[in-house]
Amino acid sequence: MKFSALAGVELKKLRRSKILLILAAPVILMWIPSVFNSASSLSPSVSITPENNFFIQGFMGMSWFMIPATLVICTVLLQQTERADHGILKMLSLPVSTVKLCLAKFLVLILLALIQMVLSVAAYYLSAYAASQLQDCSFLLSPAYVIPCVAALYAGAVPMAAVFWMIGTLITSPVFSAGIGLASVVPSVLFINTKIWFLYPMSYPFYLLMIRYGRVSPDVYGSQIDWLPWLPAAVLITVAAVAVSCLRFGAAERR
């Protein structure tokens, strides 16, 4: 069976799961307050233009905890869809390779993150427009700047998604895998200030945003991405996490 068809099957399983609500809720929750707080963007504490400040402040919450939190919840929801009514047992007794099955599910997880990315860009433009009307000052940034920036944040979330996926595969209790995932999000703000931040995938999107912050407001953070230790580490972590989850996928059900 073709991989693309399998991914289609996996997408179909999410019908009526209200996953779009889970993707949209954090986006809305992050942007509505920033419209009301837009006045504070006019008088920033560091040297930064209001429109950049509005953009960075809005995406700060997204990249620190909302992207990771949605990934955690989506992971557990994907796993729970299989486990709730023993759907996984049926899948394992059909002629599909478990590795393919696991990869298809991981692809769906990435796809869900992509959907949220589109939603968050849309929410940014809506709220930036609303804030501009409210404060009588343009908060809008060019799409040529916004879209690559947000795309980078989400690309930076892929290694983290792989790690969450691995945790979800290894730990069958939904509350525990969600708990570990959520708890691991919290210290990322600590890690980006250390030298070993590149070993902690949960901090990647936040790191990328801080670099953007450093570029538009000097002295806040570095402005150059340390590609060298980071890229190999990120690739290694992603590959290892995906490999482990492929190997262990369905193991609990096949005991």
């Binding site: 179909k12 399983k13 023993h86 007794s93």
Partner: protein, 285 residues
């Protein structure tokens, strides 16, 4: 492997820690037959079936399905088997039709196969309802439809009539009985009720505490009962007496019995006698 047997197991064993769920099992399932797998709850029927499907790894022994062996040919084996294990497995958020469509896509079957399967188990009128909202009997039928879809050459059904009403039970039994002729397939069906198995199956295997007490046709079971002084006119009672006697056997007995069984296996080389055997032979008196 014997060509007339589509499924064969050799010394198949599964233990969880110090508990042995299936012990040294030697099954012989003829091509094109309905094989009734009989035993009380917890006898190891489901575990055996799960092993055949690769859902759980045997701790000992091997098995061949249509000449293929696990784990090397897992996907190839599964391509030939339609299965229905324990509690029905499905996706609650999808309708019955959508659930079957998933399976159809994975198996690469034509669209019409969904309708056919729904029709076969009598779910056509409920096909648009979410599976979560199905009654127990409907879930059971959905599970059966998922096994029957695409007319697989081998069917493994674990207590398929559980939770059905008497009419449903009769319907499903008749369906299973007719399957080998209709679709030219082999059926392994488990149950804890002898009368049910008697109505459906050509061959019977009786399992208790993970050990095979008997394997053969219903007629052979009757003869067996006669010769060992069990009530032969009522097979149900013979079955119960057989289980009861096995339960009363002293604890150290399994080791002794295993020895005797291996003896029997060594002289079971000719195919004729391979069909007729009582694994826990003559010591029953």
């Amino acid at each position: 492997m014997n060509r007339t047997n589509i499924i064969e197991t050799q010394h198949l064993t599964k233990s969880y820690g110090d508990f042995t769920a299936v012990s040294d099992l030697n099954l012989h399932i003829r091509r094109g037959s309905v094989y009734g797998f009989l035993g009380p709850n917890g006898a190891g029927k489901s575990t055996t079936m799960k092993m055949l499907l690769g859902l759980t790894r045997p701790t000992g022994g091997i098995f061949q399905i249509d000449g293929k062996s696990y784990p090397r040919d897992r996907v190839a084996i599964l391509r030939e088997i339609g299965s229905f294990i324990e509690a029905p497995a499905f996706y609650g958020n999808l309708t019955g039709e959508e659930n079957l469509d998933l399976i159809r896509r994975i198996l690469g079957l034509p669209k019409s196969s969904v309708e056919e399967a729904l029709d076969l188990v009598g779910l056509t009128q409920f096909r648009k309802r979410m599976a979560r909202k199905y009654s127990l009997g409907m879930k059971q039928r959905l599970g059966l439809a998922g096994a029957l879809i695409g007319r697989p050459p081998i069917l493994i059904l674990d207590e398929p009539t559980n939770g059905l009403d008497p009419v449903g039970i009769h319907e499903i039994r008749t369906l299973i009985r007719s399957l080998p002729k209709r679709y030219d397939c082999t059926v392994l069906v488990s149950s804890h009720l002898l009368p049910e198995v008697e109505l459906m199956a050509d061959d019977i295997g009786i399992l208790n505490h993970g050990r095979l007490l008997f394997e053969g046709t219903t007629d052979e079971l009757k003869q067996e009962a006669l010769s060992s002084g069990l009530p032969a006119d009522n097979l149900e009672e013979a079955f119960l007496a057989m289980i009861d006697e096995d339960n009363r056997r002293p604890e150290e007995a399994p080791g002794r019995r295993t020895d005797r069984r291996t003896e029997r296996q060594t002289d079971r080389t000719d195919p004729a006698s391979a069909r007729k055997r009582r694994t826990t032979g003559g010591e029953r008196k």
